[in-house]
C-alpha cells in the first residue's frame, strides 16, 4: 500500500496498537531539560522504576540559564535548583548531560542536530513543544508533557493515537528578503493558530527542497504554532550531507545500511493525505505579527486586518489588539521599537546570524534599541567567530551573549519590560511571553536586523537593495 513519509516512520515504531485507543509508540531519542524533567524523575523514583534505556536520553540545560557570565554560579536560586536537579538526575541514572559550560551545551533543538542525535526516520520527543524542529530531518518529532517524559524514561514508549496527515506544498522561488521564517509565518497566518490541530504536517515542494537544513528546522519548529503536533520534510542529499560525520551519527557499515533505509523515506506517489494545501512562493513577503498569537501575522507592508475580516471571535481579536496597543487598519512599518531579540530554537542558528549580519554590516544599531543576540549553542558561537561575524556584530554596536533560550520565554533575566515593544525572531508572541506586559512582534532575522538599525519596524528589502 502506498504510504506517506509520516506513515513509514510512524508505522515502524508501533510496538502495539490498542483497539479504540492509542498506539504504543517507541521513542528512539529523548531530550530532557531542566524545566520539564524534575517532576518526571520524582515520579519515576516514587514508583520505584529505573530508566530503561539511559543511552537513548540526552540532557541539556537551556530554558532558564543566564546568557551572561555562565562561568559564575547561577544567581537565581530557583533556576540553580532546577539545573542542579537535572545534573543530579542525569548522573544518578547514567544519562549524558551537557550543562552550563559544556562545549556541547545549547538549546536542545539546536544541539540535537549538531551532534548527530537527530536522524532521519527516527522518533524524537522532549518536554518542549518545539521538538517539532527535528522533523526537518525526516524524523517524527514532537513535544510531550512531563507525565510522558516519565513514561519515556521508564518504558521508552508513549501512548499516542496516530494523528491525521496534512501536506503543505509550496512551489516557486522565494523573493528577495523572504526567509524560511517568513514562509512559516505565512503558512500559520493562513492556517491560524489552531488550523492544523490533530494533524502531522509534511512540507513539500520546491521551496522546501531549496531550503538549507537550518531553514527547514525553522519551518518545522513552527509547526506547533498552527496547532500541528509536528512537521516533517523528506530527507535528501542536503540532509545526509548535514548529518554525515557528526558525533553520534552512524559510521562505516552502519552508515551505509542507514543510508539504504533513509533513501526510502519519502511519500509514495499515490499516497494520500487527509488534507492538502497549496501556496505560491511568490505570494510570500517578509512577515510580521501584530497580535498575541503567531497566526496573527501579515506581510510587513500590509495593514492590520479589521475584526470583520478575521476568523474567530471579535472579542478575542479586540482583546489581542488592545493588549498590543494597536488598531485595526494600522501599518506596522515605522512603529518605534524598544527591543530586538535574535535567537531561540527557531532562529538561533548560524544561518540566522549570517542573515542578521548581511543587514547590519557597515551600519549602526539605533541608539534607543536594546538588542539581545543569543546564539543557539556554543557550536554556533564558534562558527560565528570562525566566519568573522562577531566583528561585524560589534562594529555595528551589538554584542553577542552566551547560548540559551533567553528572551524567547524569559525564564532567565532577559525580560522585555511591561509595555515595551520587541521585534523577536522567536516563536511566540503570547501576552507576557517575553516578560509580564511585554509586546512581541515575531519576524525573521532580516526584519529584526533592519528594525534594529532603523529603530522602527522596517522592511528589510529597503536595506538589502540600497
Amino acid at each position: 500500500m502506498a504510504k506517506t513519509l509520516f506513515d513509514k516512520v510512524w508505522d515502524s515504531h508501533v510496538v502495539r496498537s490498542i483497539e479504540d485507543g492509542p498506539d504504543v509508540f517507541f521513542i528512539d531519542r529523548h531530550f530532557i531539560h531542566e524545566v520539564t524533567s524534575p517532576v518526571a524523575f520524582l515520579g519515576l523514583e516514587s514508583r520505584g522504576n529505573s530508566v530503561l534505556y539511559p543511552e537513548r536520553t540526552f540532557a541539556t540545560a537551556d530554558h532558564n540559564t543566564p546568557t551572561i557570565n555562565q562561568h559564575l554560579p547561577v544567581e537565581d536560586p530557583l533556576s540553580a535548583n532546577q539545573l542542579d536537579a537535572l545534573e543530579r538526575n542525569a548522573a544518578k541514572h547514567g544519562i549524558s548531560h551537557w550543562g552550563l559550560g559544556n562545549k556541547n551545551n545549547g538549546i536542545v533543538h539546536v544541539v540535537g542536530p549538531e551532534n548527530g542525535i537527530t536522524l532521519p526516520g527516527s522518533t524524537i520527543v522532549c518536554g518542549d513543544s518545539h521538538t517539532s524542529t527535528h522533523g526537518a530531518f525526516g524524523a517524527i518529532a514532537f513535544g510531550i508533557g512531563t507525565s510522558e517524559v516519565e513514561m519515556v524514561l521508564s518504558t521508552q514508549c508513549i501512548m499516542q493515537p496516530k494523528p491525521k496527515k496534512m501536506r503543505i506544498n509550496i512551489n516557486g522561488k522565494l523573493g528577495l528578503g523572504v526567509t524560511p521564517k517568513d514562509v512559516a509565518l505565512f503558512i500559520i497566518s493562513k492556517q491560524t493558530t489552531s488550523g492544523a490541530t490533530g494533524y502531522f504536517v509534511e512540507y513539500a515542494g520546491e521551496v522546501f527542497r531549496d531550503m538549507s537544513m537550518e531553514g527547514r528546522m525553522t519551518v518545522c519548529n513552527l509547526s506547533i504554532e498552527m496547532g500541528a503536533r509536528g512537521g516533517m520534510i523528506a530527507p535528501d542529499e542536503k540532509t545526509f550531507e548535514y548529518i554525515k560525520g557528526r558525533a553520534l551519527t552512524p559510521k562505516g557499515k552502519d552508515w551505509d545500511k542507514a543510508m539504504e533505509y533513509w533513501k526510502t523515506l519519502h511519500t509514495d506517489n499515490d499516497a494520500t493525505f487527509d488534507v492538502e494545501f497549496h501556496y505560491k512562493a511568490t505570494d510570500i513577503e517578509p512577515m510580521i505579527t501584530y497580535g498575541t498569537n503567531p497566526g496573527m501575522g501579515m506581510g510587513v507592508t500590509k495593514s492590520i486586518p479589521n475584526a470583520s475580516q478575521v476568523e474567530g471571535g471579535v472579542e478575542t481579536y479586540k482583546k489581542s489588539l488592545g493588549y498590543m496597543h494597536f488598531n485595526e487598519g494600522e501599518s506596522m512599518i515605522g512603529k518605534k521599537i524598544d527591543y530586538v531579540f535574535l535567537g531561540s530554537c527557531t532562529n538561533g542558528r548560524i544561518e540566522d546570524f549570517r542573515a542578521f549580519c548581511s543587514i547590519v554590516k557597515g551600519r549602526k544599531k539605533a541608539d534607543h534599541v536594546i538588542a539581545w543576540l543569543v546564539p543557539g549553542s556554543h557550536k554556533v558561537v564558534e562558527q560565528i567567530k570562525a566566519e568573522g561575524l562577531n566583528e561585524i556584530i560589534s562594529d555595528a554596536g551589538f554584542e553577542l551573549r552566551e547560548p540559551g533560550c533567553s528572551a524567547c520565554l524569559a525564564m532567565n533575566d532577559d525580560k522585555v519590560p511591561a509595555g515595551k515593544l520587541a521585534v523577536s525572531t522567536s516563536n511566540r508572541n503570547f501576552e507576557g511571553r517575553q516578560g509580564p506586559g511585554s509586546r512581541t512582534l515575531l519576524a525573521s532575522p532580516l526584519v529584526a536586523a533592519a528594525s534594529a538599525i532603523e529603530g522602527v519596524v522596517t522592511d528589510p528589502r529597503k536595506l538589502l537593495v540600497s
Binding site: 518536554g127 501512548m159 471571535g313 472579542e315 524569559a410
Partner: protein, 199 residues
C-alpha cells in the same frame, strides 16, 4: 493508581469565553521553576487574575465570588495552545478543577489533562455557546459531566450532548489508571521491539 478516579461530576462552572487561551496564560513561564508538583494553583492564570502589584483583578471570572467552588471551567475555542508545559494542567488541577469544557482543545494540553486525571470535554460550538449563556444567566447553574455515558448535561434545562473519548482513556479515567501502569505491564514486548531498532 496514579490519580483520582473520574466517574461523574456535578458542579457549577467558571466561564472563560476567550479563544486561543495559551498555556503561557494558564501558567506563565516564570512560575515553572519548581522541582516538585506543588503550588501551581496559586499562579493559575496569574497575569489575568492579578495586577502587577499583586492585587486581584475583580472582573476576571476566576476571581468572582459568584463562581467560587466550581470544579469545571468552560473555555473558548482552541483552549490550551502553545507550550507543552504540563504545569498548565497541574495548575488547572491545583486550582480545584476536574474538568475543562471547550469546543476545541490544543493536542498537548488535552493529553496532559488526561494524563493527570483532569477530563477535557470537547463539545460543539453551539453547545459551548449554550453553556456560556446559561452560566452568565445564572452563575449557580449546574453542569453534569458523566463519563460512563460520555454526556455533558445542562441540568437546568436538561439539554445534553455526547462527547468523544477513546475507550482506553475512558477506562483509565474511570479507574484512575495511567499509561505507565499499562506500559510497565508490557515491558518485555517493548524490550523485544527495541532490539529491532537500528539506532
Amino acid at each position: 493508581m496514579a490519580y483520582d478516579k473520574f466517574v461523574t461530576l456535578k458542579s457549577t462552572a467558571y466561564p472563560l469565553p476567550i479563544e486561543n487561551v495559551d498555556t503561557d496564560q494558564i501558567i506563565p513561564a516564570r512560575f515553572l521553576k519548581a522541582t516538585e508538583r506543588i503550588g501551581f494553583g496559586d499562579n493559575f492564570f496569574r497575569d489575568w487574575r492579578y495586577n502587577a502589584d499583586g492585587t486581584p483583578k475583580s472582573d476576571f471570572p476566576l476571581n468572582k465570588e459568584i463562581y467560587a467552588g466550581g470544579k469545571i471551567l468552560v473555555g473558548g475555542r482552541n483552549f490550551g495552545s502553545g507550550s507543552s508545559r504540563e504545569h498548565a494542567a497541574w495548575a488547572v488541577y491545583d486550582f480545584g478543577l476536574r474538568c475543562v469544557i471547550s469546543s476545541a482543545f490544543a493536542d498537548i494540553f488535552k493529553n496532559n489533562c488526561l494524563n493527570i486525571g483532569v477530563l477535557p470535554v470537547q463539545v460543539s460550538p453551539t453547545f459551548a455557546a449554550k453553556l456560556f449563556d446559561a452560566i452568565f444567566a445564572d452563575p449557580k447553574t449546574e453542569i453534569e459531566v458523566d463519563l460512563p455515558s460520555q454526556t455533558v448535561t445542562l441540568l437546568a434545562t436538561g439539554e445534553s450532548e455526547k462527547f468523544e473519548i477513546n475507550s482506553y482513556k475512558k477506562e483509565n479515567m474511570l479507574n484512575g489508571f495511567d499509561d505507565i501502569d499499562y506500559l510497565k505491564n508490557i515491558e518485555e514486548e517493548i524490550t523485544t521491539f527495541a532490539q529491532t531498532r537500528p539506532f
